[in-house]
Structure formats: structure tokens, C-alpha cells
């Protein structure tokens, strides 16, 4: 990776993570019934874990 493409790759990675996070957080809001602050915090962190797993999985499969 050259220095010029590094920010681009970073942006792409951040975008992918953010897209997954938004989608999964939305999914969490669909699954639950009552919404409060703690619920939002737990949902956001679970969605973050899911987004990390999604990216790790995609990278692992297209590794070769």
C-alpha cells in the first residue's frame, strides 16, 4: 500500500464498517419492543461487534 492510497483505503474501510453498523443497529431497533437509553447503548455496541465481524469475515474470504 503506497502512501497516497492509504487514506482512500482507510475511508473505504470506515465506510464499510459504518454501513454495516447502521444496518445492524436498525435491525436491533426492529427486534426490540421498548426503546430506552440503555437499550440504545447495548444495541449500538452489539451492532459494532457485528460490523467488525462482517468486515473480518469478508476480508478472510477474499484474502486469496
Amino acid at each position: 500500500m503506497t502512501r497516497r492510497t492509504a487514506p482512500r483505503a482507510f475511508l473505504l474501510a470506515a465506510g464499510e464498517l459504518l454501513a454495516w453498523w447502521a444496518g445492524l443497529a436498525l435491525l436491533w431497533l426492529v427486534l426490540i419492543t421498548t426503546v430506552d437509553t440503555l437499550e440504545r447503548i447495548v444495541g449500538a455496541s452489539c451492532a459494532a461487534a457485528g460490523a467488525l465481524a462482517a468486515r473480518a469475515g469478508r476480508r478472510a474470504v477474499t484474502w486469496r
Binding site: 440503555l38 437499550e39 462482517a54 473480518a56
Partner: protein, 245 residues
Amino acid sequence: MNRLRLGLLAVGGAGLAALLVAACLDLPDFGGSRHPYGDRAVRASLARHIANTIASVNFDQRAYDTLGEMSILFAAVLGCVVLLREARDERRARPEPAEVVRPVRRYALLVLPVALLTGLYVIAHGQLSPGGGFQGGVVAATGLHLLYLGADHGALERVRPLGFFETADSLGVCAYLVLGAAGVLAGTAFLANTLLPYGTFDTLSSGGTVPLLNAAVGMEVASAVVVLLAHFLDQAVEIEEEPGR
């Protein structure tokens, strides 16, 4: 020999069947309305603001039993790890990467995070809606193995640091024990649910220590299943006997 064994089995089975039928006829009728223990358990659960009575029974009223269940799971996984380790007369042969058709691969990649999130949802809402640490943990761990089904064992190994999951397994058991011992330190009994406020009924923070114990069990089960399947996969896919023996 074989006929003798089957004859013996038939005699024993017939006797057992007769006894079982007699016992069934003597049991309280199916659907009867007398459930003294159940009524008391529901009352105790509502008194502690826990919406899911089964979670209340598992993690509050009979939390000591769940500790036993957890240690059985822990010990069984330990036994499997010992039994399925790579022996001295074996070697690892890396299988060539598998070619899975594109729709199946994409399906695996898309459903993996969804399954993980659903597992976490089932764990987190264990004391509210049906579910709990065990069910959610198994779902999350199974979701991770979509990577094996959708690609190959190498891809799974790249996202699954086994040491991390082994540590998480032990940490889950330790967290359960520490939460139990905290009750003793606070001046009540081991695993007594008197430590934290009971909170508002039907919210995520209700039920005192129940959500925490639930999360500990979820972590333990998820990592235990991952470790277990890792060793079975190793045996089935990679490890083979040393040729020439």
C-alpha cells in the same frame, strides 16, 4: 450370541414398558391445573421485576443449579479438547482452498453478522422475552461457522483467534463465580439476588444480577461452542495420521 442379546433386550424392554405405562397412568392428568411450585416461582419472579420467569428460575431461584450446568459444559469442553488434541503420531495437512459458488458465499457473508446480532439480542433480552445466555450463545457461535460453510476452514481460522475464545470461556465461568461470591461479600448468601436494585419491570436493567449472570453464561456458552467446534473441525479437516506407521 446376537439372538440371545436381542431376546434379553426384548424381555427387559417389555418389563420396562409395562412399568412405564403403569407409571404414566398414575401421573397427574396432562393439562391439570395444580402446579404449586410453578405458581410460587411466578410470584417470586414478579416480586423481583423479572418478566421471563424461566430466566428467574434459572439465574435467581435456582442459580446454583445453573452453576453446576455451566461447570458440566466447561468440563465437557475441556474433555473434548484433551481427547481431540493433535497426538504425537499425527500431522497436519492443509486442505486446498475450497471453491464455493458465489451465491452461497455471499449468503454466508451477509447472514454471518445478522446471526451474530440475533444471538446477542437473544442473550441481552434473556430476562425479558424468551431466550437467554445459552440459546443466544449457541446462535452466535453457529453464525460464526457460516464462514466455514460459505468458504473454507482457512477463512474461519483467520477470524477465530482460538486463544481468545479459550480465555473468554474461562472468563465467563469466573464472572459467574465472582458475581455469586459478591453476594457473600455483601453479607447475604452465595448467588443471592440482593446486590443490585431490581429496576423497572420489563426493561433491560430489571432483575438485579440476573442480566449479568445471563451475559456471563452467554459468553461462556458462545466461546465453549466455538472451541468445541474448532477441535472437531481440526480433526475432520486437517489432522491425519502420520503415513508409514
